[in-house]
Amino acid sequence: MAELQFREAIKQAIDEEMESDENVFIMGEEVAEYNGAYKVTEGLLDKYGFRRVIDTPISELGFAGIGVGAAMNGLRPIVEFMTFNFAVLAADQIINHASKARYMLGGQVSTPIVFRGPNASAGQLGATHSVAYDSMYAMFPGLKVIYTSEPEDAKGLLKSAIRDDDPVLFMESEQMYGLKGEVTEEEDFTIPIGKGKIKRDGDDVTVVATGKMYHIAQNAAKELAKDGVECEIIDPRTIKPLDMEMIVESVKKTNRCVVVDESHPFGGLASEVGFLIQREAFDYLDAPVQRVTLPDVNAPFSKPLFDLWLPDAKNVVEAVNTVTYRK
């Protein structure tokens, strides 16, 4: 095992895949000469040159579409967005082209492309830099969405994403790039897309959380353990395909569930998981499923308001208290 920062784990995945497949290249804003806005691509330009590590203008629509076209024509692009908040400008290419070209041409093309970059908020960046887009993209058929919480998951899943023959959105977080974690040194380590992981065992309540929210759930679980409430934390790691089987199995054991989702409340991962538990494990539930999400409000700048806006461990503890009827 090696202790790596999140950014290093991602870089290793990109580097290893570029080394083994000549058709893999990376492009995005600041990825080459600047060495990556968040230093994820540090050193890649020196190693691979401007042919395969490509700085783009601030033209999300343009370079995302060029990536999709290049994927159709036999390459395996990794398109980095400085944040998924900017990828909204490229939504036509992701939603209308990457996910649909194969189907509407009757299977004549494929689009093996990875769109990656930080997702959701990263402190006081204001309303336009703070939205979690994982659930939104998961709504579209044909798109796979990954949002990991730890370096090892990130490495293994990013490698799988780059090898995938279909479009994958791989989401990170500015606030997690420096996070350290043990990463296996197993050669050619990959994690299959669509498999969750039970990251904490417990009998009292199932807590589903991924990305940045996973760490909040862990903090809450530590607090609750002091009161003798044991959370089972499931990190689905992949929003779509969603490992619902793992969640349902856990709920059948704990009979209670809280979903911690960094999206706004309407139509997100939390509501989807809540619906599916209702359908798959109705008779096992001892309490209605609860969710912790952002409010249905834009991100404020002011620090106290921002802290109020972003879910924290306290919110998770409250939700667990609700499903365990402890208040």
Partner: protein
């Protein structure tokens, strides 16, 4: 006396609210080439083949329109009629493995790049035997094995895709040229600007071709875009050209030169080919935005009639031979209709096919 203040309207200066009755041609055509087919190194057979190709596109669409009006199939139907010289001249100018991508006015492009009339008609009918298995319909004709990457339905959305095809060609250093065709309406999309900037920046072997048929849906070019379209190229330092799209020899001659230059220098081009769309934007278009007289002006210089006269004048073929070609095509198109009608619709299972190249996954 105080000068009367201009009424605050949101339309270009000089556009009258009432609309005027004079024939105001939507596009000004540059002169066609004065070269003969021999000077262009085209053999007699090739000239006849060009005629056949253009006539096929015309009759295929005229018959498709009839079938649509009879209610044989639904969806959109954007006809290419009037613009056939562009697709025909281009495929003659290009290598067979050069890449072509276009928007939703795509039947003609399919037919010149290997979509058979049967596969095309069946696609319009939504049948399993269609070129895109009935999954795409009128807007998504494609024949990727012949380097025709298909028609796309979002105005301007396919322009970056074209840039990406060219990017991959450069990356693989395979010597292929990519041409992306778009309508004058797509010139107003930001996607064109972003793609042109990146293409020039990265020296992509790409040709962006505006088929300026005078109208962006029902809005005349002079009402939807400023200045000359071709002049956009100047802003990017991109090589450019304006062509007469009603003459197949002109398109052939110039596209051949441009493709040669792109292949040699790997530098992009921006080409405006002026043409005219005889039919409405789609089948539901009452065409109140233009006059019958304007349409007639362009029909006088119809590209197919023009080539037919040339063939007769130069004794490449006589009336009899032309008639035979036309009858053969008529039969082929009617056979295509029979084929489409007799073909099965896709099986229910097909609903879930072609979503993924790898392991399929569907959320339930």
């Amino acid at each position: 006396m105080a000068k009367k203040k201009d009424e605050g309207i949101f339309a270009p200066v000089g556009i009258s609210k009432e609309g005027d009755s004079k024939i105001d041609k939507a596009v000004d055509l540059p002169d066609p080439t004065n070269k003969t087919h021999k000077q262009l190194k085209l053999k007699n057979d090739q000239v006849l083949e060009m005629f056949e190709m253009m006539y096929m596109q015309r009759r295929f669409e005229e018959r498709a329109m009839q079938m649509y009006q009879k209610g044989k199939f639904g969806g959109f139907l954007h006809l290419y009629i009037g613009q056939e010289a562009i697709s025909t001249g281009t495929v003659f100018a290009f290598n067979d493995d050069d890449d072509i991508i276009t928007a939703y006015r795509d039947h003609g492009w399919g037919l010149v790049r290997g979509v058979t009339p049967k596969e095309g008609m069946a696609e319009l009918y939504g049948k399993a035997t269609g070129c895109s298995k009935g999954k795409g319909g009128s807007m998504h004709f494609a024949k990727v094995e012949n380097h025709y990457w298909g028609g796309y339905g979002i105005v301007g959305g396919h322009i970056p895709l074209g840039g990406g095809l060219a990017f991959a060609n450069k990356y693989k250093d395979n010597g292929r040229v990519m041409a992306c065709f778009l309508g004058d309406g797509a010139v107003d999309q930001g996607a064109l600007h972003e793609t042109m900037n990146i293409s020039q920046l990265w020296s992509l072997p790409a040709i962006y071709v505006v088929e300026n048929n005078g109208y962006s849906m029902g809005t005349a070019a002079r009402r939807h875009t400023v200045n000359e379209i071709v002049d956009r190229a100047k802003a990017y330092g991109m090589k450019s050209k304006v062509l007469n799209g009603m003459d197949v020899f002109t398109v052939y001659e110039e596209m051949q030169k441009i493709a040669k230059d792109v292949r040699k220098n790997s530098e992009p081009w921006f080409v405006e080919i002026r043409t005219y769309r005889y039919r409405g934007h789609s089948m539901s278009d009452p065409q109140k935005y233009r006059s019958k007289e304007e349409l007639e002006e362009y029909q006088k210089i119809d590209p197919i009639e023009r080539l037919k006269s040339y063939i007769l004048d130069k004794n490449i073929a006589g009336e009899d031979e032309i008639d035979k070609i036309q009858e053969k095509i008529e039969d082929t198109v009617l056979e295509a209709i029979d084929f489409a009608e007799d073909s099965p619709f896709p099986e229910d299972d097909a609903l879930y096919e072609d979503m993924f190249a790898g392991e399929p996954y569907f959320h339930h």
